[in-house]
């Protein structure tokens, strides 16, 4: 691994240069909301971002994505697939969000790979950013994530005061580093200690731990526990937790017609919605809200782990912060542990 330094005042010009050859997707604050979106000028970017409202997954797995166009005029079917080939750089990903891409990769890149996701993933370079402080809802360490770790990013930045520590982690990162080496300097000693101290400070704030590999197994035993019904009483059945979740990846397919032509759209769906598993017959295996809410937590903690060997939660805390009725996955984890003991 290659490490360098990037002086803070050089970051904007570095990003500017990146924009010359790639689309730059970066955190931007709109009306106080931090979101990731393509930018046209560095001045729009929040260089040292906190946690965004929406996770960066929207760049790879868009909330609404046209996947093909069709035309049936004259009795013939014309199809045009819509795969993005554009090069992009995604700047300012925190470690939890970087990890979330590994979770999504497990779903979308397993054969047969999803080509829309795969194309964007392949064409996008990731620039990570260590956290400088924890938030009250953060608990990434529960999943073994280091708040200063860059694993999964191509280049990872850590704020060390006047400069960023730059870790070049992948061949794609190396390419970038080489291309823009005029911005970097040689690293000074002692930075690993700064990182370690930062990690410990943030970890101390994270109140929840998950015994990796153990909790998923425990959950099997509490599927029928009345706890889920009790928990669901205050649940509104909205889609906030799933839409702000960096790893939720359910979608629905819709065709939007306009005469004999149209588009096929892939749209996010939420397992909390009542029509999520509704069958054509009218039967719904998860008719009750508690069944849907339970499914979400089982998916996050158990099903995803069972299937892919990685939890479906990265401890980013977005759902905890944004749930209008304060359904807190950390409490759910703690309760499940208590129930099964």
């Amino acid at each position: 691994m290659e490490s360098k330094l990037l002086k803070k005042d050089k970051l904007p010009s570095f990003l500017e240069r990146l924009m010359e050859s790639s689309l730059l997707v970066a955190p931007v604050r709109e009306d106080g909301l931090l979101i990731y979106r393509p930018v046209s000028s560095v001045s729009e970017i929040e260089l040292n971002p906190g946690r965004s409202v929406l996770p960066p997954k929207d760049w790879f797995f868009q909330q609404t994505e046209a996947i093909c166009r069709y035309n049936t005029a004259g009795g013939q079917l014309l199809l045009e697939e819509l795969v993005t080939e554009k090069n992009a750089v995604l700047y300012g990903l925190h470690p939890c969000d970087i990890r979330s891409l590994a979770v999504l990769d497990a779903v979308f890149l397993a054969e047969p790979a999803d080509r829309y996701y795969a194309a964007r993933r392949k064409n996008t370079a990731l620039i990570g950013m260590s956290c400088t402080a924890g938030r009250p809802e953060c608990f990434c360490t529960a999943f073994g994530i280091s708040p200063v770790g860059g694993e999964g990013a191509d280049i990872h930045l850590t704020d060390i005061g006047a400069a960023y520590l730059v870790e070049v982690l992948t061949p794609k990162g190396k390419e970038l580093a080489a291309k823009y080496q005029e911005f970097s300097e040689e690293k000074v000693a002692g930075l690993e200690e700064v990182k370690k101290a930062r990690k410990e400070a943030i970890a101390a704030q994270c109140s929840v731990g998950v015994d990796q590999g153990v909790l998923p197994a425990k959950m099997a035993g509490v599927f029928d526990h009345p706890y889920w019904e009790e928990l669901s009483r205050r649940c509104l059945g909205c889609g906030i937790c799933t839409y702000v979740c960096p790893t939720c990846h359910c979608f629905d397919i819709t065709d939007v017609n306009s005469g004999s032509e149209g588009e096929r759209l892939r749209c996010w769906d939420s397992c909390l919605f009542r029509d999520y598993t509704l069958h054509t017959s009218g039967h719904n295996p998860r008719h009750e809200l508690y069944q849907r809410l339970r499914n979400r937590f089982f998916h996050k903690i158990k099903y995803n782990y069972d299937r892919y060997g990685i939890e479906g939660c990265v401890g980013c805390g977005r759902c905890v912060a944004l749930c209008p009725v304060n359904i807190d996955i950390r409490e759910v984890i703690a309760t499940v542990r208590g129930l099964s003991e």
């Binding site: 799933t242 839409y243 819709t254």
Partner: protein
Amino acid sequence: MKEITEILRREAARLLKEGIEFFIGYAAGSIPVSARPFFAARPEEVDDLVFNTFCVHNLVKYLIRYPNKRVAVVVKGCDNGAVSRLVQERHLDRTKITVVGVPCGGMIDRNRVLAELPPAARIEAVEDRQNALVIRTGQGEHVFEKKLYVMAKCQVCAKNNPASVDIMLGKEAPPVADPERDPFKEVKEIEALEAAGKAAYWERLIRRCLRCYACRQVCPACSCTECSFEQAVPGWQQGAMWLTKAKTLPDNFHYHLIRAFHVAGRCAGCAECERVCPVGIPLMLLNNKLTKDIKELFGEAPADACGVLCTYSPADPDEFA
């Protein structure tokens, strides 16, 4: 506030002993400066009940889930209108519900308070004083004068003591609203814009909508068994596909305009839609616009069971002649 909490617990325990199914109130939240809805089902659970200045939630919507059960619910003044509306629209049997009113001194706008704390400050304690909220962080004590940090709806609230409830807890609270403040000030500001300015304002906001439907789910006026925007399969349910799941500007607009129109004259002003929106769309600006126009066009909303759009007067203004 402590006093109210004590009376609340006492009453809840009494009602639960009398055999009600649930006492729906509030408990402390797991994140700073918050509360959460809480369903007490047994007398021993009442000790978790609280009432404080963070109890923003309108709990009335939950009643729809229990149409045939005996349930008690805590309401603030702004939540209360939803009860009679749901009774009028036959979703609730008023005789089965016990409405427990609490005097409200205004609810704290959590986001505004948190935004003013120093970044990365760890909240150690929150103290709710009479007129102020005191938050202690690692970096010292922060005092927030409540009057300045109550939610926007509280600043124009004219009914902070719920009327015609079954049980009223505690003493009447003094008025919260700032009498100088025009409830339709923001609406009028938008009305004063040119068409292009209005469009730019709304397009920016509405484009952001995630269609998570939290505003609909929390709204007590959104009382349909199944929302028309969920009927995604044309033909099969004999329904029409009004909207796709696609998060597109036209569909987002369709959703918000029609939702606002569906609750026109039925919105009780609890502003829960606006509070729960994860992307900060000021939805009350739509609801208030309709409320304002209804007042101007048709006078005060009639007590008609199905609201202002289910009735008419031959003397209504006629701009279409």
